[in-house]
């Protein structure tokens, strides 16, 4: 994909934090339509803070967020979601709601007219959820909850799905399953922005941004990252 391709999402100079503590320092990042971008960083690097700023759960102190050609920096998170950016947090689901209620709730909250219309398609993608549709989400295993979280975020029919550590707390087997699902979402043309510390996700990524201490330290393709000696040592454990 040529670098000049139009961005679906572009952030410029994002500063954000909590109270007197500044976490993000001038973060620039972009995601183009249909591509999968990995935001790689260790614990405490500021990945979650960045995603929350992106979707409007934390207000940016400076900088701008442009989504589908519109500056959304000062808009509410529900407005950003209506413009096509949905968010899967690390918690991902409502444990006290049924599985079907969880799937439908994002679309309901955003006022979609017929949220049920996508149910069959989503159950096709996650058959295990169809079998347990009436059960409480708390009855699911960690991996199944992640699948429910993805289904819940997809029900609102986004153009860009923002995911916070989809591999957190999962066994390697489930991580593999999540990667398979993300691959199939990419094939359907959905843009993905995935915050992770698991380098296994490089497998599905088109481009990578490395976040350290709240600053972007690297941005480029997976091949370019592998060519960078310092990053190779830090993330691949190679010399």
């Amino acid at each position: 994909m040529p670098p000049e391709a139009k961005a679906l999402l572009r952030t410029s100079g994002i500063n954000a934090g909590y109270g007197t503590m500044q976490v993000l320092w001038g973060v620039d990042l972009d995601v183009r339509a249909g591509e999968t971008v990995l935001l790689l960083g260790a614990n405490g690097a500021g990945k979650t803070t960045f995603l929350k700023t992106l979707v409007g759960l934390i207000e940016a102190r400076n900088g701008s967020i442009v989504l589908a050609d519109e500056d959304v920096t000062r808009t509410r998170s529900s407005d950003r979601m209506r413009r096509g950016m949905t968010y899967m947090s690390e918690l991902a689901v409502f444990p006290d709601l049924s599985i079907e209620e969880n799937i439908l709730i994002g679309a309901q909250a955003l006022g979609h007219a017929r949220p049920q219309s996508r149910l069959e398609e989503l159950y096709g993608l996650f058959p295990v959820l169809r079998d347990k549709r009436r059960d409480a989400a708390s009855s699911l295993s960690g991996g199944q909850r992640k699948m429910l979280g993805i289904a819940k975020a997809l029900a609102a029919d986004p153009k860009l799905l923002v995911m916070d550590e989809p591999s957190a707390g999962l066994s390697p087997l489930f991580v593999k399953e999540v990667l398979r699902i993300l691959g199939s979402l990419r094939e359907r043309g959905l843009a993905l922005l995935i915050a992770e510390q698991n380098i296994g996700f490089l497998e599905v990524a088109t481009r990578v941004f490395v976040l350290e201490g709240g600053r972007i330290r690297f941005s480029g393709t997976v091949a370019e990252m592998a060519d960078n000696e310092a990053l190779r040592r830090a993330y691949f454990g190679l010399k």
Binding site: S77, S78, S89, L91, F94, L97, E101, I105, A109, K152
Partner: protein, 305 residues
């Protein structure tokens, strides 16, 4: 005597469920403690007294009136108070102080307006519009009702019946409406609700309004269940509500129904066998449940408050 205490306890228990359910709805959604809950109940009682004394109507007409008026009061109060609370560092603690202050203000203003004398409504006035139904069910229009071979004031049965209907409607709201599903989502995980794009502010305002409306509806029956009310009644009602809510399960509105029934039966057993200890009951039950099963009888996780 035991059968009487148990059936009367069930009738009172259903009523106590209504007393507590609004408090629990507000806590479950907003994680703030409304210490003025009992005062809104007391104001509902004064609406019933007004409807009966001034308009000479069946106090049952005060039920929709109290509900609508206090839903609106709740929406206005929410806009005035809650955003500032939620923006503070410790909203739970601040809410206790703020609503304690509000409780004192409501009591003082009601005392200035109506004095401290006890207000009651003749029992025969409640449910006068239901006379044909009562004749069909019990054979007369204004006598006591007979249940399981025991006779009880008809006002207790009517209060319990309205409470069951109100709790049923809360169930329908929470489980059969779109706003109710969003409300349960906020109760389940507030942070995730924001992350899902739910308008948490709108859901919270609705819960606060409905919570106050339910308190006022419970208040309509207070003069019949407790004989009379004064402006100071709100304080006792708040303590009772807390006992009922903590017994059932804090943060789970429908658990309040169970808490109410357990409380009601305990209340009537103590009234029957140890009447001089009855005033201690809410405090004793609160201490016991917090020591033995802090998550409440339904066992939902303990919420930070």
């Amino acid at each position: 005597m035991l059968v009487y205490a148990l059936v009367a306890g069930l009738l009172f228990g259903l009523y106590f469920s209504l007393v507590g359910i609004g408090l629990n709805l507000v806590f479950g959604v907003m994680r703030i403690v409304n210490l003025a809950h009992g005062d809104f109940l007391m104001l509902g009682a004064f609406i019933a007294v007004g409807v009966s004394a001034l308009a000479a109507l069946d106090p049952l007409f005060a039920v929709p009136l109290a509900f609508v008026v206090f839903v609106l009061v709740g929406l206005v109060l929410y806009r005035l108070l809650v955003p500032r609370l939620q923006g503070s560092v410790n909203p739970e603690m601040l809410s206790i102080i703020l609503f304690f202050g509000l409780s004192q203000v409501i009591e003082a203003l009601t005392t200035i307006a109506f004095g401290t004398s006890e207000r009651s409504i003749p029992s025969s006035e409640l449910g006068a519009i239901l006379a044909p139904l009562r004749v069909r069910l019990f054979g007369d229009a204004d006598g006591p009702v007979e249940l399981f071979g025991q006779t009880f004031p008809a006002t207790w049965a009517i209060s319990a019946m309205v409470s069951v209907i109100a709790i049923g409607l809360v169930y329908v709201y929470l489980y059969r409406t779109r706003l109710g599903t969003l409300t349960r989502a906020v109760m389940s995980r507030r942070d995730e609700a924001f992350a899902t794009g739910i308008n948490v502010d709108r859901v919270s305002a609705a819960a606060f309004g409905i919570g106050l409306g339910l308190a006022a509806v419970a208040g309509v029956f207070a003069p019949f269940m407790f004989g009379s009310v004064t402006p100071a009644f709100g304080e006792d009602a708040t303590v009772t509500s807390f006992a009922v809510v903590v017994l059932g399960s804090l943060g789970n509105p429908l658990g309040t129904a169970l808490g109410g029934v357990v409380y009601g039966i305990s209340y009537m057993l103590v009234q029957t066998y140890l009447s001089s200890w009855a005033d201690l009951l809410p405090y004793v039950l609160l201490i016991l449940i917090l020591l033995l099963r802090p998550s409440g009888l339904l066992g939902r996780r303990v919420r930070v408050a």
